[in-house]
Symmetry: C2
Subunit: 151 residues, 2 copies
DNA sequence: TTAAAATAGGATAAAATTATCCGAATTAAA
DNA sequence: TTTAATTCGGATAATTTTATCCTATTTTAA
């Protein structure tokens, strides 16, 4: 049996999104968080999470500070403008919404695969969701206890 | 960079879906198709495709016949009742629509992850699409030249 | 009955993703 | 200035997914 079929996200993205939310939450309180604290909070492997955070830093989604009392943070005033798609793009590169669902070289209206029209709406909805969900709202829901980062 | 983020389907599923469509198309004409012909038509690796076809046979999505003049086929009268979700389920097992988008142990209304409510609708639309698309319509679109299996 | 054409299935290999380890560089406090 | 706490980054390992190879089995036609 050839495992799992419909991933919404890779592990890398899962960790990236959850980490970003936790960093945002902490940044509201004005405190930087360490890799160790993040991995513990989101229940992810430390070293792997580090790689993903480095990616997010390079793409200016989050900031980092080395050394004692260092850690990760996000500029408070930017939290509401960071979208899920920014995080996903940072980890993926781009070419996210462009690929054909059935693996044709390009997704092309004029040369569609059998599921093209059926998938288009699903993909567009996914895209819309990613581009219209920001870190602030996700963080606030964690804060209020309306959602959870682990278990 | 930690590649690709949003898969709709695994390669195994892509090949499984495309192969099924081609087999359906051929079955309407009353001819069995060989693995070789399928792999060529959908532009997939032969041996890997063989494994996936075996899965589909075991799950009674398609039929196979060994020996000279053997190959794969689908009972003509069943083509319209085979849904995309049947193919996907055969290759995946199940547990498809159940998992949490952010990797929590379970997707649970009472203990939702930060993206749960946002994702629910996307996932439901995907599910609806898979359960309401049948092989017949996909095959007919190939036949009419409205869609394509490769390139 | 034999030979050729196919699928079935086990073993293995390659590639991609996920995960770990360790030393280097940086920072702040003591 | 030293030390401890951290992130950074390269190397490597484990796991999963994708792909290949080879032999056995089945089936039909000659
Ligand atoms: S061509 Fe396949 S999804 Fe558009
Ligand atoms: S709990 Fe994460 S998608 Fe439902």
């Amino acid at each position: 049996m050839y495992q799992i079929v419909i991933y919404m996200f890779s592990k890398a993205c899962e960790y990236g999104i959850k980490a970003s939310i936790f960093i945002a939450l902490s940044s509201y309180k004005g405190v930087r968080v360490s890799l160790k604290a993040i991995a513990k909070e989101i229940n992810s492997p430390e070293a792997f999470t580090a790689k993903i955070l480095q990616d997010l830093v390079r793409h200016d989604v989050i900031n980092s500070m080395k050394g004692a009392y260092g850690g990760f943070e996000i500029d408070k005033s930017l939290i509401s403008s960071i979208k899920l798609s920014d995080i996903v793009n940072a980890i993926d590169g781009d070419a996210i919404y462009s690929g054909c669902g059935l693996g044709l070289d390009t997704c092309d209206e004029d040369h569609p695969c059998p599921v093209h029209h059926k998938f288009k709406s699903v993909r567009e909805e996914l895209r819309f969701m990613l581009e219209n969900t920001n870190l602030e709202e996700l963080a606030l829901n964690i804060k209020s206890g309306a959602s959870f980062l682990k278990v």
